[in-house]
Subunit: 310 residues, 2 copies
DNA sequence: TTGATTCAGAGGAAAAAAGTATCAGTCACC
DNA sequence: GGTGACTGATACTTTTTTCCTCTGAATCAA
């Protein structure tokens, strides 16, 4: 005899068409209207639904001549079938796109805070517009690291904070992020809405490493505000940095994080005349891959505020 | 005339049957054998594949009379169609279960170690407080995987290790697990009761993948202890990981496992100032099913140690 | 060149789906 | 309580789709 793989069944398969039919009926709660919506007559629709119920061995609808209702199983099927159809449509699109030649792998480096805020957006956009593209993301990097990685072609694109030293790289400005103050929630300054940098003159600071752009800007801003920050702890990872703040070890200046970590024990407060750091996307100028170009195009759409990017 | 909703298309729909056919051909790389496997003749199979290609407007296969190969689009379709079919089968099962009187089905994703320790407790609690609920559990997953699965609603709840990037998800803190050292029982350090991380500086490490939270925390902790772990083997499954340790290939850091594997050949040792990883339950914020709410309530009862969760 | 192998096409048979006509149950309303 | 309007199911026919058999064209090995 012959072994029949479970994958190769035939007859009693639920088909996409049946799911569409079921969704229509479930949504309209009315065979007639559903049939109309599907541009078909009512009897074959009834038949298909009945067949579906038989295939699943389960009653999906409670029919009276007066109205149609969903059983629990029907509700489940409705919810999941909708998702499934959406997935199938997405798959169709993706296959078409890949058929038209969008595919490959890009290695992306991302700087500290952008890892959590911007990167998911980028990944999402890439998924949408460049399906088949694999992104290999390395987060929580510092600008100098990324410069070297770009030059050595260990990454293809980097989301970093200018300025950069290298002249082999190209930059595209993305946005300007104001720095905000991260405070332990029980800190006395936490009760105030808007702070001056000078208010922090005597506070212990948790800071990014010296080589980071955020640190450079922060230190410079403090100097102008008339004090030199007392750094008690230095750390590269934003998540770690914020844990230190939560633990009450000090305060920190971090780039605006609109919907950042709902981190317990931390509050964010705005600064008057807040210093700001730029965010830009960088790539090696002589890298002229079609894939890279298309990826960079993803950054075009949002109103690319042409700010200064030094 | 009449507006046709995008959901209600007809003719050019990709059907489940076609996907099955395509998978067979793609796997066999041979129309004849695929047809045999599908219990049909070869010509109709060719026709269906051709029709599929036309519907997608994309070439999926490169045929010579000598062999069949996949295009990039074909590879994509193969991978995704497999997943899709698996989901459809799962859906069928779930609908049947609910039809037979289960009050509902929740799909749960669970991260590595929690699979063995916490999951049985959860399942037990669910059985007790929500009889009729069927849990469909997928274990040994990584946080990024689960995030995507939650967003795409392929799972309803996930037990994962923060941090998460997505902002569509909600989190509820569960517990903090200290990392312990897993050692081969004949290891020289096994004779000591409490270890320092620095003791492991020269040991070969078996580690979870880079994208896992445990790996991130471990690596960071080692860095602080003044060394960079030498990773000789990477693996996703805790059971596999521990087998490597048992085989004497190296040591590993794993989350506390009170009643973990009584795996022969392994001993666990505590660490001084042990790093810890959080465990949380996550769900898609806009999923407001009654079933999900009730399930989440199960996590309320234990004295929810309010720790900070970076 | 010949034979074996493999995929595609043509035309007819079988199966599935859709259409038409009709029936039977329920409810609103007089 | 009877009547008519409305709704979904059934019976049967027509149309469409899928599948099968037979055959042909292309490729490769000997």
């Amino acid at each position: 005899m012959e072994h029949i793989g479970a994958r190769d069944r035939r007859v009693d398969d639920v088909e996409v068409r049946q799911m569409r039919y079921f969704i229509a009926v479930a949504e309209e709660k009315h065979f007639g209207r559903a049939a109309q919506r599907l541009h078909m007559a009512q009897p074959p629709l009834s038949q298909q639904i009945k067949a579906l119920e038989e295939q699943l061995g389960t009653q999906l609808l409670v029919r009276t001549t007066r109205k149609v209702d969903l059983t629990a199983a029907g509700e489940l099927l409705l919810a999941r079938a909708r998702l499934l159809l959406a997935e199938i449509e997405k798959l169709e699109q993706d296959v078409k796109l890949v058929g038209q030649g969008a595919s490959g792998v890009l290695r992306v480096g991302v700087s500290g805070t952008a890892t959590y805020r911007l990167m998911p957006i980028i990944v999402q956009a890439a998924r949408e517009h460049m399906p088949g593209l694999r992104l290999s993301v390395q987060g929580e990097m510092l600008t100098p690291e990324m410069e070297i990685a770009l030059e050595e072609q260990r990454v293809d694109v980097a989301v970093l904070r200018p300025p950069i030293r290298s002249n082999q790289l190209s930059l595209k400005f993305l946005e300007k992020d104001e720095l905000v103050v991260a405070l332990p929630e029980d800190h006395e300054l936490a009760s105030r809405g808007l702070l001056d940098l000078a208010d922090l003159a005597d506070e212990p600071f948790i800071a990014y490493p010296m080589s980071s752009a955020v640190n450079a800007i922060s230190t410079e801003a403090c100097r102008r505000a008339g004090f030199s920050p007392q750094i008690v702890q230095e750390t590269q990872e934003t998540s770690t940095l914020l844990s230190f703040v939560a633990a009450g070890m000090g305060v920190a200046l971090v780039p605006t994080a609109r919907r950042m970590f709902a981190l317990q024990g931390i509050v964010f407060r705005q600064l008057r005349n807040a210093p700001a750091v730029d965010l830009a996307v960088a790539w090696k100028t002589d890298n002229e891959t079609a894939l890279l170009k298309k990826f960079l195009d993803l950054f075009e759409t949002p109103a690319t505020t042409e700010g200064n990017q030094a």
